[in-house]
């Protein structure tokens, strides 16, 4: 009945209400702008910060070597750490109590001691294990090598970072696995998939959506934690900056150089992460958000106007 009345009246006019005013937003904008300006002025016009030193050292060869070392340590440790984490997480969820116990002890130990201690430990490895050899346990061995040559400075850095990372990653991966609905495993089993196939094809790909954001955090932390290995003499980005300022005493300038590089690397990672998340989010939302490239193309197609 009411609808009949409405249709005879026709469509009511579109509402054009006066929006609520937000005067405090403008106050906040002004306050923040002043603070930012003061900070920028302090940095730029400060006679004690020599920006020419920053500029000169930004692409210093030692700094570039340090960047490379930081990147290598991060990528390799993270890759090994993720593999360890997945293996430890799957072991932890195993029905075999020994297997899950081993994984539990691994996580307990490497999460429970400081990373710095673990780094020192691996650098000192060859002082208490002199030789590494293949052979029969407690029996004769076939081929061996001096552990100083096998566990180099770089390898021990990787070992320390990767083993520590693996412990944290395993908890992240485990959270991802248990977040996947039980029905998925059942459906896969009902189709005749083995437990390993189910994990690899059905559970892990879905767990990735939960795993990736905290893993992004881990990559970020790792980029910065690599600087800890400098205590043992590996020259990463921060160590390279330190080497330079020990000579020229331009501490703040070189810390700015290092920070610029760290920010550049973490920003680059953020972009990579965005695309990884997009990939694993497929099928999860009714429509995936556009990439910046797609958005730019669409904007261009519309002649530079939204809508």
């Amino acid at each position: 009945m009411t609808s009949e009345v409405e249709t005879t009246r026709g469509r009511p006019e579109t509402i054009r209400a006066v929006p609520v005013r937000h005067p405090w937003r403008w106050v906040a904008v002004v306050v923040i702008a002043v603070l930012v300006a003061m900070f920028a002025h302090m940095l730029v016009a400060n006679p004690n910060i020599h920006w020419s030193v920053v500029r000169k050292n930004l692409f210093n060869s030692l700094i570039l070597q340090g960047v490379r070392m930081t990147l290598e340590l991060t990528v390799i440790s993270m890759a090994v750490g993720i593999v360890l984490g997945v293996v430890a997480a799957v072991m932890r969820l195993s029905r075999n109590p020994i297997v899950s116990g081993v994984a539990w002890v691994y996580v307990w130990f490497f999460r429970g001691t400081p990373l710095l201690v673990q780094i020192f430990f691996w650098f000192a490895f060859s002082t208490f294990v002199r030789n590494i050899a293949f052979g029969i346990p407690f029996g004769p061995h076939f081929d061996g090598a001096d552990s100083n040559k096998v566990v180099t400075l770089f390898i021990s850095g990787i070992l320390a970072l990767a083993l520590n990372e693996g412990a944290y990653m395993s908890e992240i991966v485990r959270a991802g696995i248990v977040s996947v609905d039980e029905g998925q495993t059942e459906a896969a089993h009902a189709l005749g998939m083995t437990r390993l196939q189910t994990m690899w094809r059905v559970v892990l790909p879905q767990a990735m959506r939960v795993i990736i954001p905290p893993t992004g955090n881990e990559v970020n932390s790792m980029l910065k934690n690599t600087s800890l290995v400098s205590v043992a003499g590996l020259i990463d980005l921060l160590a390279a900056a330190q080497h330079i300022y020990y000579k020229n005493y331009r501490i703040v300038e070189l810390l700015i150089v290092a920070s610029i590089w760290y920010l550049a690397m973490t920003s680059a990672w953020q972009i990579v992460q965005y695309y990884i998340e997009r990939y694993y989010g497929r099928g999860s939302a009714r429509a995936t958000p556009l990439t910046p490239m797609q958005r730019a193309r669409m904007l261009a197609a519309r002649g530079g106007h939204y809508q």
Binding site: A190, G192, M193, R286
Partner: protein
């Protein structure tokens, strides 16, 4: 007996901890038969269905599918648990459709259907794709092959799930309340697909609350309550003229 039974349950018992859910189920299904399992919730019908493809382990009794023991191998008078690979291989011959569809959300409808035939049976992709497209056409979803499960309605998802199970060319299909999670107007499409399947001669065991479907399609209706089979027979007897008071009480509530 002429042909071997597709499913033969003899005094099947199943407990979860101290809670005994199945208290001695005797149950036979001949090839090509369609069985509807009715009963109040908690009566053990879904649990029994899940025992048939060994998603649940039975505690006592014997359960045979197509003449072979489910989940075990008999050597002398001792039962040996089957290794995982063997259990998995036997499951490839039994299709299952779940109440909540359980499609793999990270794969398209086509991907869902192709996954098991290619990965489990190792069949060539092109053959499987052709068969999957046929199956999608059969369930009326040929145009949604590239859609992800979340882009499909519940009824569409369930029809993809049926196609996924059929792609393995099973000799037995299990349906665990396939329409209970659907909006009422979507139930009909799913039941229509199941009706076609029954007509094609597939052996089916269907746990359902759709009395109309049971009456029309089932060869045998089995009414379960409290972990036992209370009454079974053709729908004209069990549904239209129930003998047991518990069956009468249940039917008077759902009809």
């Amino acid at each position: 007996m002429t042909a071997p039974l597709m499913v033969d349950a003899q005094q099947v018992h199943k407990s979860f901890g101290v809670n005994e859910v199945l208290k001695g189920i005797d149950f036979q299904v001949a090839p090509g038969q369609v069985i509807c399992l009715l009963g109040p919730s908690g009566s053990g019908k879904s649990t029994f269905l899940r025992c048939i493809n060994h998603l649940e382990k039975i505690n006592a009794g014997r359960l045979y599918v197509d003449g072979e023991l489910v989940g075990y191998r008999q050597v002398g008078d001792k039962l040996h648990e089957l290794p995982e690979k063997e259990v998995a291989r036997k499951r490839t011959e039994i299709g299952m459709v779940f109440q909540h569809f359980n499609l793999f959300p990270h794969m398209t409808a086509l991907g869902n259907i192709m996954e098991a035939p290619t990965r489990v049976k190792g069949e060539p992709k092109d053959d499987v794709r052709a068969r999957a497209m046929d199956l999608l056409a059969k369930v009326g979803l040929a145009d949604r092959a590239r859609a992800y499960p979340r882009q499909l309605s519940g009824g569409q998802q369930q029809r993809v799930a049926i196609a996924r199970a059929l792609a393995m060319r099973p000799k037995l299909m299990l349906f665990d309340e396939p329409t209970s999670a659907l909006d009422p107007e979507l139930v009909g499409d799913v039941l229509a697909v199941m009706r076609d399947l029954a007509r094609s001669g597939m052996t089916m065991i269907v746990v359902t609350h759709e009395i109309g479907f049971a009456r029309e399609v089932a060869d045998t209706v089995v009414f379960m309550d409290g972990g036992v089979v209370v009454e079974s027979g053709p729908p004209s007897e069990v549904i239209s003229n129930p003998q047991h008071t518990r069956t009468q009480a249940f039917l008077s509530q759902v009809l």
